[in-house]
Symmetry: C2
Subunit: 301 residues, 2 copies
């Protein structure tokens, strides 16, 4: 009567649960069905020159950078990676339901040819040349939200600005009180409820495509803001490399579903209107940070 496996359907909002449900005529398609029906051209391979591999003892975290939204910060991060700045640094902070952050515990490592201060890119000028797929659902924090190349995006036509939203997996550039003080030498990743209040106050430079569980499961720091009080708790970063600088054979082959594709539109609709043997009351709404943009291993490998 209380089978655990039967209860697999119990918390049915996950990314893949729908595949377990029996087919009924009226139900919305499952994610698995939508992806199975997608066409190869609906998938995009991230640019290796804009992809970071963060090598941790437990594995690789893959970040796609977003030069269209934070060009100066992304360029600085790429410079730091090319010059091996991050190698041997550490994850120094894990705050529950908020962020994991890495940087230089010694605070003394020179930044090389990277810049120490950058003009803020908390927003950038609205670029209508980008393929923006609007989410029709109303957002509380921004006039418009949607997706550009797999990134969750907000826009304000009034001020003609755009910015990446702080969703789960967002990679941001830590800064001090001075808005110019973020330079990419310390980065954070959102590991909890989307802290949308940070939007427009700090630069988001990318998002994690793979390996979130390597960050989200880290022991939380006991000091204020989740910093590790004891340096023995620091998690070493073996290296951070641009994928383009890694030999082809060692690269991960990922594809991201194009957010301007028909299959993504179907996915958005299914999220909003899901109704099936388990879900009787469709949500009729979807938050920008509840969508989840599909990433898969390339079948071309």
């Amino acid at each position: 009567m209380h089978s655990v496996m039967r209860l697999a359907a119990a918390v049915g909002g996950g990314m893949i649960c729908g595949a377990l449900l029996a087919a009924t005529p009226a139900r919305t398609p499952t994610l698995a069905e939508i992806l199975a029906a997608s066409q190869p051209a609906e998938w995009r391979q991230p640019d290796p020159a804009q992809t970071l591999y963060v090598e941790l003892p437990a594995g690789r975290v893959i970040i796609e950078l977003a030069p269209a939204f934070a060009p100066l910060h992304v360029e600085n991060i790429r410079t730091l990676a090319r010059e091996r700045y991050f190698d041997g640094l550490a994850i120094v902070r894990a705050q529950d339901n908020f962020v994991v952050q890495w940087g230089d515990p010694s605070e003394k490592k020179p930044l090389g040819s990277a810049r120490t201060e950058l003009a803020p890119e908390f927003t950038t000028p609205l670029n209508n040349a980008l393929k923006f797929t609007a989410l029709p659902d109303r957002d509380g924090y921004a006039p418009q939200v949607g997706f550009v190349d797999g990134f969750p995006v907000a826009r304000d036509p009034g001020s003609r600005t755009q910015w990446l939203t702080h969703c789960y997996g967002a990679v941001g550039v830590a800064r001090g009180n001075d808005p110019r003080s973020g330079n990419g030498s310390a980065l954070y990743v959102v590991i909890g409820q989307a802290p949308r209040q940070l939007d427009r106050n700090i630069a988001v430079a990318g998002r994690v495509l793979r390996g979130m569980e390597l960050l989200s499961t880290l022991p939380r720091g006991a000091e204020g803001l989740g910093f590790y009080g004891d340096e023995r708790q620091y998690l070493p970063i073996r290296s951070v490399r641009l994928a383009s600088e890694v030999p082809e054979a060692e690269r991960s082959r990922l594809e991201v579903l194009r957010t301007e594709s028909a299959s993504f539109a179907t996915l958005l609709s299914a999220r909003r209107n899901r109704q099936d043997d388990w879900m009787r009351v469709p949500p009729r709404h979807v938050e920008i940070c509840n969508v989840g943009v599909p990433v898969r291993e390339s079948p071309l490998r």
Copy 2:
């Protein structure tokens, strides 16, 4: 130029960061300041008869049950706890950015005098006798949202129903496709972005007051839906007890800020309008699941 500690202010949306900021005349009060100014009568001690201690190898998770929102389910869970049903069971599932779930891996343990099926309590009749503190901010998933006794709540005046929202730390009753199949023998806790799409489709019976990090850091399961494929990965549950059945000396002394208090109103306003040396662009909005209801050790201990 890139001090990690200076960057503590960097990701400044956390619960306690404001305390690090220097005082300026125009800034909103920090959480620490609001709580320091709160009065003893603004804090509530949860009823020990409605509080669960989940004892894990690494420590205690404390759950406050919500009989006002799922009376039948809460009563069944209390019966299961009183009869030691959960002792020796295990956490069998951890799905990244979604839920941790526990239950009986053998699927054979008798439920004792608890019921195996319950009438669904995905919503309950709107109860105007409850102290509902409305959040003025518009919500995407529900006509009204706010707080009752520290619990995040949604209401629909049209259908005269109320329900607990799936925020971080929400404790829900796993079920199968049959809406009557949830009985409390398997429970899940939200460990990621609020899966609000589950609202009104499954019973939420409480919320975690302490110990979220003991759940959120668990290794993710590799099987579908985050189930552990190998039973050696199961995390044993030593016991689940009602606080009222634990000797006084072994009880945790927690207090929850009353969500109908003046200090909580100040906190909501500060969340919505935060502006200080770090945050230049106030969010002007707060989501129900981004508020965070303060819990503290009782100073009366």
